[in-house]
């Protein structure tokens, strides 16, 4: 059995650009040649520890607000070190993506290879649609994410 590889899209379909990770996961599922588990995660980032369990390589895609241009993509090697501040929890009761990664690192539950793609969102209104900048970046980001997992 070949080592497990997983692509995880994080987001919320009901909050405009926050759907980006989910849209990328769905596009990747369509485009994948089948060697990658695709997970849509809408709950707490702490669930990521289970989502990438036993995976040798994982890619996480999440919307981010860093001040970059709408739709701009950041690629971060999370196995090498902590994620930057924009990936930390907007809530103080739940863990954000950055905290979940550090928790996994402390517990020795980080995949050997973990790439995080952040896609810059601008509109997170309740009930809103994803913006054009997000929609037009989905296909290429899905391809880039699959390529990281040698499935592109």
């Amino acid at each position: 059995m070949s080592p497990r590889r997983v692509l995880i899209g994080l987001g919320n379909d009901l909050r405009g650009d926050d759907a980006a990770g989910l849209l990328v996961a769905r596009a990747a599922r369509e485009a994948s040649r089948g060697g990658v588990d695709v997970v849509e995660a809408g709950g707490e980032p702490i669930d990521l520890l289970d989502a990438w369990e036993n995976a040798e390589a994982a890619v996480v895609v999440d919307a981010v607000v860093s001040g970059a241009a709408p739709g701009a993509i950041q690629r971060i090697d999370a196995a090498a070190g902590p994620l930057p501040a924009p990936f930390a929890a907007p809530s103080t009761h739940a863990l954000g993506l950055a905290e979940a990664v550090e928790l996994a690192r402390a517990l020795g539950r980080l995949p050997d290879r973990l790439i995080v793609f952040g896609i810059e969102g601008t509109d997170f209104a309740t009930g809103g649609e994803p913006s054009a900048a997000i929609r037009s970046a989905v296909a290429s980001l899905a391809a880039a994410a699959l390529a990281e997992l040698d499935d592109g």
């Binding site: 709950g43 289970d50 103080t92 009761h93 863990l95 928790l103 402390a106 020795g108």
Partner: protein, 435 residues
């Protein structure tokens, strides 16, 4: 910090490891505490207004969105209030199932708070993940407990966050006994680990603070049930009323420094709801394993040190696992997933024990089943004055601590309550000012 007038001021601009947004301001002159204010600046959320004109069936799902941590509490209180208005009763196996899914919420909410948010205070870590590197086993245990609680909610509720299967009258679909039975091995393992956690918590270092609270919580109609999903409202100073008497017994007041209302016992004052109150008034109703663990942890005669609430939460996690196993052992699939009803005009009251305290809902509905008015009193707004009073006493007794240590301890004092600020807003910056 001090200014030229000898004012000592400690400020926390955004309290971490609590849900929602708030700040704390403490003013001290010499050794005297002049004022403590919890300033809740999470914007008001107007849920009660947006419920007006909606169908009674929508209340459980709309109010569940008030909180991602305790949606079952909101759904349960909302359902019970509607059922009260409609004159129906959810009893027997359907009620047991409601109590079982609520056990899942107690477990996931208490586990998140105990292991990830509160334990770091006692061990001197900035956060749960900073603690994880040195206390890997403890944190892994917490993650397992939380996952088991979430799983229980998923199996009954359809999903772990904002479950979709709870409705007025019961459920849309009831689980097969084998679906619940499949959870048993993990729940048994987590119950054993929960017992270890009670012992571990009992060994922590607790700051000194003894408080004379009026404890308020529910008391179940059954003598062998610790209060979770329903009951009468009782207090350590003689309150013993039906949920419909909430308004006659308690009042909410607006205070200038907070967007959350302050609740108090009418013509008396502040009160405490949550784990310390439930344990204080109902500990003889714990299951044998939980009662023994509490005794061995040194709180068998009660607990009035809010810092020891972490031990009480550990006991409640143990109880919730034990109770879940009991309910699963006795589960028989109900004949129907819900109790039928016809809409009718009326007013209904629902109260349940959210992990952080009592949650009251009242609805008035018309004869078509449309909501005319809604009133929701969440636990954190009931506890807000008690949190301030804890801080006043704690700061007065520890006024000579350096500002940074005092600030850290004040934050810990607030976290004793596992406050849910976003729930209570209609709730943190910590500021200590010394005159």
């Amino acid at each position: 910090m001090s200014d030229g007038n000898g004012v000592r001021r400690i400020e926390t601009s955004a309290l971490a490891r609590v849900e929602g947004e708030g700040a704390m301001h403490v003013r001290i002159r010499g050794d005297e505490v002049l004022a403590v204010e919890l300033r809740i600046y999470e914007p008001p959320r107007f849920f009660e207004a947006l419920l007006r004109g909606r169908a009674l069936e929508e209340a459980p799902d709309i109010t569940a969105r008030i909180c991602g941590i305790c949606p079952i509490a909101y759904q349960t209180s909302a359902c019970q209030a509607m059922e009260d208005a409609l004159g129906i009763e959810v009893a027997g196996p359907l009620r047991d199932l409601r109590r079982l899914i609520y056990c899942g919420e107690w477990i996931e909410s208490h586990a998140l708070h105990l292991y990830m948010l509160h334990a770091p205070d006692f061990l001197g870590y900035e956060s749960g993940f900073a603690m994880a590197a040195d206390h890997r086993e403890i944190v892994e245990r917490g993650l397992r407990a939380k996952k088991a609680g979430n799983r229980l909610i998923e199996v009954i509720g359809g999903r772990a966050v904002h479950p979709v299967n709870v409705r007025v009258g019961g459920f849309y679909k009831t689980p097969e006994p084998r679906d619940l039975e499949a959870l048993r091995p993990e729940l048994e393992r987590c119950r054993d680990e929960a017992l270890e956690t009670v012992r571990w918590c009992a060994g922590l270092d607790f700051p000194e603070l003894e408080r004379d609270y009026e404890l308020v919580c529910l008391r179940s109609g059954s003598d062998d049930e610790y209060p979770i999903d329903d009951g009468r409202i009782v207090s350590s100073r003689g309150i013993d009323v039906a949920p419909a008497q909430f308004d006659a017994t308690f009042e909410e007041r607006h205070v200038e420094h907070s967007t959350a209302l302050h609740a108090r016992v009418r013509e008396r004052g502040s009160y405490l709801t949550g784990p310390l109150a439930r344990f204080g008034l109902n500990r003889e109703r714990l299951s044998p394993i939980a009662a023994t663990a509490a005794r061995e942890a040194g709180i068998g005669d009660g607990c009035s040190n809010p810092f020891r609430s972490i031990v009480v939460r550990a006991v409640e996690i143990l109880y919730a696992f034990d109770e879940a196993l009991r309910l699963i052992a006795g589960y028989e699939r109900p004949d129907r997933p819900s109790v039928a009803y016809e809409p009718r005009a009326g007013t209904g009251h629902g109260v349940s024990e959210a992990p952080r305290g009592m949650l009251y809902h009242r609805y008035e509905i018309d004869d078509a089943g449309e909501i005319i008015s809604a009133w929701i009193v969440p636990p954190t707004s009931q506890n807000q004055r008690s949190i301030e009073e804890d801080l006043i006493e704690f700061v007065a007794a520890n006024v000579r601590l350096p500002d940074d240590e005092l600030q850290r301890r004040c934050e810990q004092t607030i976290r004793n309550y596992d406050p849910c600020i976003s729930c209570s807003t209609h709730f943190l910056k910590l500021e200590v000012e010394r005159d």
